[in-house]
Symmetry: D2
Subunit: 308 residues, 4 copies
């Protein structure tokens, strides 16, 4: 359970303070606001604030004066057109802010997306909690034998047990020594205590940190297209999937278009397109005649759902 | 008057649609929402949406769970500390969206600030209105004789009259020919009409365009520190001053700190500081003994309010 | 001819100053350095400087110590893999700087790409030359009747002649009045002369400006994928095509991968992919049974090179 | 010693491959190219490539055709003017690329500077070396008692010894278990080995990573103004100081201006300026009459070098 009683009370207090506004408002997202969606074993994702909605995308694309009076299906059509043709700027007009609790090694992947605003909990200034990510047994995977960047079978038996034991023991011991070095509140009055900015270096990379993270809808879509992808590391994908739920509630028309034209889409190279055209024209073309490398051929067959 | 009856009605309709929200809300800014603040002769600035408030800056700086319960003056103190020490990321957690109508030559200065989101009215796709910026007589300035980048005395008499006549005549004629080339709705059925993306090149740079422009509070402060400065061109400063009013209503504590530590502040170089220290120690130090160039000395005297 | 004798001499002088360097160097691009490639009627594009080459992409992807000793075809394979799988950061390790002379309305499209560095010639500080873009007769197109954002047939006869006459006359007159208002060097000693920052507003949007523009290879590819596209406006596409030549000389392996996987590629939505799969399986599926809108169907047929 | 024999050989090979170029070249930086400057106990900083020099700043500011023929002191004056008046875009025209080996907790501070290009060694794909940062005794500081974000006295005696022992032991043990879990090359044929992307989470934050990092001179100056500052954490300041040496060799005039107007400068708020003016006018003004908070007063006295 990632929240303390005090944190739960603070969230409840925030949810109790309703106000009136003239701004675009999305009831389905309001219902989610501030609540912590659990992710991994101790992490969470909370929506803290948002700006805009589907209509705001349309309004910006049209540079219009009011909120528009067109039929909803006309707006939906425009949104689909904008996504399909990579007109990204109208989607930059919507903004969302999350509070996320996540393991440091996930934070390090995440921060590579630079077009966002971040305020991370400072271990230079404050003390981190004793919480680490330990994979659930079903996520404890071996190194892939075909992909240097992926996972293979799930570990089982003694090996799994020993890995879990080591992860727990090392993180716990490193944290305990971190706390000892800090000597907070002069627990041992004979010692000065190491500076926080130094002591933190003893923590393991599965220690949880947290941050406020804010981005616009276009950049969020880019993040999600990479991190909600099956090739993404499971631990960051878990956060991406929680974000997808919030986006679905927030901007349903944009979300639908994103699923159709980005998440579920595939890009075919010039060479791949040529193969598809020849096949549709009835020609029997295999990898040797295709001009594609074996790897690219395999990728094409996967896209086309063919087992060749 | 920059708005048509239809536009005014659309704005009134938008202001009539109130909703309930759990998000941070700022009544003083809600009162301004959607209204067009006139700027220059035909331009305006409207706040379309906003995210966050002073408390959101504090909340992000503390990465806290709720909206906080500290005393207001403690929050104010933190905000002043953050601005003074250039901790910029908490201010990135507030976002504001404007709809702006502005002359193209102002838009070209403005767009140099790249850390913002923009959707401009497309003259490739639509037709611009016949509206140009013509300076008011009190802004019709001569080239500065001391600063290659500034203005000098106000033009008067025949010269002023002729300049205004030429600005009006050329813009009007260029626009009329633009409309003729477009031949919209086959006004002349014998002509095809030039493509919009080409015809627009005939317009003058004082023609009004409009855009949606969205940025975060940190980048807005950077924009304002450059564009609300007395050295900025008057025409963009007029927009910056309208924005300052919206910021004051939106985040009063951050605004106050910004005025004290950025707008009203001055940066003293190592050499300037040395002069101030020597003077405070009672030494009589003039430009020749200062190690400063004449230009830098003049800048220092200006900062210190001394006429030497 | 876009260059004065003095400018040509300056370029020749720059090309005469050879030096020795340990940095990655690309002879094919060195041969182009500083030379002005003519674009449109008075514009040009010049490569001013560059950093990195194909091997630098590979070196960054591998975070390696030296320049690498692998076989060239291994490097080529890695580059193709990186582009295909949208690993963009290694391409950000190459940088190129251009000097471009271009009409203002093209500059306004161009500047929408924000991830670049720009220094534009300042009309606040200096005086622009009397040079305007006038389309060649074969580029003087009518508005498209099917695409609100495109061009249709070429204008001919009296209409074409009159359009060209108006473009020339209005730009020339606006410029002459600009010069009159400036009253540079007190041409008329009785007048003060209007401030440069004001006088420039009288210029038309086809007036030429110039800038230094610098970006990394990843962002350049993004720019080129949008602006070298047949749907881009011809006038900016002309610059994109000149840039493509420089990229081909600079990073031939990256260029080839970019052509195969981006320029010549097509993205198929989930719905489009379903149609292709059904067709390949022998099913007769037309638009009504496809689940695609008519517009999307048309786009699919175009991608597949089918006339249905 | 941070480099293996093979890495040293690769660097020597890279330094042996000289070429001719027409690009701006800086001999003093060429002399440093590729060499590893040691930082901390196992880290380093190497310049991999650069674009531009002091003259390139001037050339971009003037949007000129050649390399310029003005007197060197005129260029120096322009550079000083540009820095003093925060004209940042000409400095964006110079670019530098570093290869850095650094502890992960330093990398996490560093990456907060988003306007840069980064390729980090991937522990998802590869295996990290067994190298950790252990502070030298003179950097093993206690938590500051006055600044929650700073360091106090140096730890000594048993406390220091025990802290160092723990840092070494925990990092070593965590790494050994990391290697055990990886089971690389099937060291134990009975085990599958944990996926690299999971095993890495067991490492401590003082483990060394490495990356290629590239930025422009303006953003580098911003980085250095924050990270070469005495308030920055020592471990990142050590890298900033190595970078300052490279900048001094690369762009000496820009470096000098940066030292005078940024590194050695101080910003005085409106209230601070008022105090200085009153004091210079002979008034005896102390904190109570100053209108400044005690904290701000203390900061002002520090700036003025006064002990009040």
């Amino acid at each position: 359970m990632p929240l303390s009683a005090q944190q739960t009370a603070e969230i409840a207090a925030a949810r109790a303070a309703e106000a009136r506004t003239l701004r675009p408002t999305v009831p389905a997202l309001e219902a989610m606001l501030f609540h912590a969606m659990p992710v991994l074993d101790h992490g969470f994702l909370r929506v803290i604030d948002y700006m805009g909605d589907d209509a705001a995308v349309v309004q910006a694309a049209r540079v219009s004066y009011g909120r528009g009076t067109r039929a909803a299906n006309e707006d939906r059509g425009l949104i689909r057109y904008l996504i399909r043709h990579r007109h990204s700027t109208p989607f930059e007009m919507c903004e969302i802010k999350y509070h996320v609790k996540l393991p440091i090694f996930v934070a390090r992947q995440w921060i590579r997306h630079r077009t966002a605003n971040v305020n991370e909990y400072s271990a230079r200034y404050s003390i981190l909690d004793k919480e680490f990510y330990i994979p659930a047994p079903e996520h404890l995977a071996a190194q892939s034998t075909v992909n240097r960047q992926g996972r293979g079978d799930i570990l089982t038996g003694d090996e799994a047990a020993e890995v879990l034991r080591l992860l727990r023991a090392d993180a716990g011991q490193a944290y305990d020594h971190y706390a000892w070095m800090l000597n907070e509140d002069q627990a041992d009055p004979a010692r000065q205590g190491l500076a926080r900015e130094l002591a933190r270096m003893n923590l393991t990379l599965n220690t949880y940190t947290q941050w406020y993270w804010k981005t616009d809808l276009h950049n969020l879509f880019h993040f999600l297209s990479l991190r909600a992808d099956p090739h993404a590391q499971y631990e960051i994908r878990a956060y991406a999937e929680a974000m997808l739920e919030t986006v679905k509630a927030w901007v349903p028309a944009s979300y639908e278009a994103f699923c159709d034209y980005r998440l579920g889409a595939a890009t075919l190279s010039a060479g791949m397109l040529a193969v598809v055209r020849r096949r549709l024209a009835g020609e029997k073309v295999g990898q040797p005649e295709s001009g594609l490398s074996k790897r690219e051929w395999r990728e094409l067959m996967e896209i086309l759902g063919l087992a060749e």
